[in-house]
């Protein structure tokens, strides 16, 4: 019928929409990147320049700040990066895998306390954690786990928010028919979960892995309570240490440099994992 006219006007609106999108995206990107720009600019400026206010132009102290950070024996940057990587990677992996497992357990099976279990997990999520932090410290002291990475990693197996996301994701995108088909083919339950369900959940896993990694990477409060020795400290603890330096050594240039160094690895991890999210599109087609 009027197909040709329709496609023409459609093309025009599409082009207009696209332009609108680009303008909005560029504005938002500018807003986001601007903070990074200021961060990087500040890491090239000296303490006193930073103290006296903002500048759009970089200073000349990039190398000085970098050297100051790397040469400070009390701030073992590389060890800090290593420690942060260990803690964040392990806790991200554990929380994502076990949350998916728990979510699948509640989604796919019918058992007596299923609803209660789901409700309990949701309730846990609504309990503020601030108060229990010191109780947690006393607990791990009694368990002899102080100054160890374990109390920072193991508890992430029970991550209610990650679980909830996985459960909702399964609700939205895993038809039980697939599981039943696998059972008919004689697949074991763990096999079905690991080889069939997990691949379908890849976008969700990647998303939550990123979030878990970043929040663990930037976490200061609990690690600062748990870790003592210099060779165990994570990056946020080292940054806090730079920030509480005495007047002789207090150096905002160093602080900003350290923050910049701390951000690099997360950006890399993010870029790596975001590919899985994009690839999720292709996987989406498989299951229909």
């Amino acid at each position: 019928m009027a197909n040709t006219a329709k496609t023409k006007s459609e093309k025009a609106t599409l082009a207009a929409r696209r332009t609108g999108c680009y303008i909005a995206l560029v504005l938002i990107s500018f807003l986001c990147l601007f903070f990074f720009y200021v961060l990087i600019v500040n890491s090239t400026r000296t303490h006193f320049e930073i103290q006296k206010g903002f500048s759009l132009l970089p200073g000349k102290s990039l190398m000085t700040n970098l050297k100051n950070v790397l040469n400070d024996a009390n701030i073992p940057v590389l060890t800090g990066v290593r420690n942060s990587l260990i803690v964040s990677a392990c806790s991200a992996a554990l929380s994502v895998y076990f949350s998916a497992l728990t979510a699948y357990g509640i989604y796919a099976y019918n058992f007596r306390f299923k609803k209660a279990a789901f409700a309990i997990i949701l309730l846990i999520m609504t309990m503020p954690t601030q108060v229990s932090a010191l109780g947690f410290l006393q607990l791990i002291t009694k368990m002899g786990l102080k100054n160890s990475f374990l109390p920072l990693i193991i508890p992430s197996i029970a991550a209610p928010a990650v679980f909830f996301f996985m459960k909702q994701y399964l609700d939205a995108s895993l038809p039980m028919e697939i599981v039943e088909a696998a059972r008919i083919d004689g697949a074991g339950e763990f096999y079905t979960f690991n080889k069939i369900v997990l691949p379908i959940m890849k976008p969700a896993l990647a998303v939550q892995a990123i979030f878990a990694f970043v929040s663990s990477w930037n976490n200061y409060f609990i690690p600062a309570l748990v870790l003592d020795s210099a060779d165990k400290k994570t990056l946020p603890i080292l940054i806090a240490q730079l920030r509480s330096a005495d007047f002789l050594k207090f150096d905002m240039g160093k602080v900003y440099m350290m923050v910049a160094i701390a951000i690099l690895p997360v950006i890399i991890v993010y870029l790596l994992l975001s590919k899985f999210i994009v690839r999720g599109v292709a996987l989406g087609g498989v299951k229909g």
Binding site: C32, N110, Y169, N218, L271
Partner: protein
């Protein structure tokens, strides 16, 4: 949820349910339940430290709760809700829009990887470092004021950090910037989980992008939307670090940016587990009630309807 479970209910599989959820509950019991239980327990006690001297614990019944309700608790609750709303509304709106754009196959936006990366980046900066940047940008002699005055929008610098709405606005802005990327990514992941053939079918039927978004995307990602709503609400009610850092722990001016958890935190100065426990319990109850309401209203009838819609669409396609 109910009907689904009935369908596949076969007793031989039940034990797998327990096995699959066991690790979560064991770890939870060990590392969280004990501290949580003591939080509730001590809310009925007078238990704090005066310097290094431990006072109590001695049982006082509901005294902590009575003290609590005699304070400005409603004010802090109101602050918390307000601060959450001014951050959350732009956050969910922008996130939905962006997620729709990124996943709209017809738009074919170029540079998507770049944009997707960039919007999440503010979340990579530690809140404390982010706040340092905010202080630099929004101080009375900072660049934002310089630009606003330079453009003639303001006659004299606006003291963002010393006025009620300046402070609240900054807290909202920072929350928005830190979290809209997260929400966008989650929504994107959800939209990508939607069967693409549905869109193809809809397109053949002559649906506009608008219609597809509201009629297909939104109903199908409803579970994730519920997730976003609930976690954001919980996160909002437990809002702490952003206002804490941006107001230097003061929650000012005149305590107008003091959130519930900041109030709770004030009690932890003296390790006042009694009062802090009472605040926690109240907050927990409020949170739980709100979550139940939101969860019910968003899932109750929809669960059936969205399934029906999905079936109808699938049927239509065939």
């Amino acid at each position: 949820m109910g009907e689904k479970t009935n369908k596949k209910g076969s007793i031989s599989y039940a034990k797998w349910g327990y096995i699959f959820i066991a690790p979560f509950f064991i770890i939870f019991a060990v590392f969280q339940l004990i501290p949580l239980a003591s939080t509730i327990y001590y809310s009925f006690f007078e238990y704090y430290r005066s310097g290094l001297k431990v006072i109590g614990p001695s049982f006082v019944g509901l005294k902590n709760y009575m003290t609590l309700f005699a304070t400005d608790l409603p004010k802090y609750f109101g602050n918390t809700l307000l601060l959450w709303i001014i951050g959350f509304i732009p956050q969910i709106a922008v996130s939905l829009l962006l997620a729709a754009w990124f996943t709209d196959l017809r738009l074919k936006l170029k540079g998507q990887t770049f944009f997707k990366t960039v919007i999440y980046m503010p979340n990579l900066i530690m809140a404390s470092a982010f706040a340092m940047l905010f202080f630099a940008l929004f101080s009375d002699n900072g660049p934002v004021n310089a630009v606003l005055v330079g453009m003639g929008i303001l006659k004299q610098p606006f003291s963002f950090l010393n006025t009620v709405w300046g402070n609240r606005g900054l807290i909202g802005l920072m929350n928005f910037l830190m979290w809209f990327g997260n929400t966008t990514i989650m929504l994107m992941a959800a939209i990508m989980g939607v069967d693409p053939t549905l869109y193809e079918a809809a397109e053949l039927d002559g649906c506009t992008p608008n219609q597809m978004f509201w009629k297909i995307t939104i109903p199908l990602i409803r579970p994730i939307l519920v997730y976003v709503m609930i976690t954001s609400m919980i996160g909002g009610l437990q809002m702490f670090d952003v206002p804490q850092i941006l107001t230097n722990g003061k929650g000012g001016p005149d305590r107008t940016s003091t959130t519930m958890i900041m109030y709770l935190n004030n009690h932890l100065f003296s390790k006042n587990y009694g009062m802090a426990g009472a605040v926690s319990v109240v907050l927990f109850l409020v949170c739980a009630v709100l979550c139940v309401i939101v969860y019910m209203s968003l899932t109750k009838e929809d669960d059936g309807r969205s399934k029906a819609e999905r079936k109808a669409l699938k049927g239509g396609k065939k």
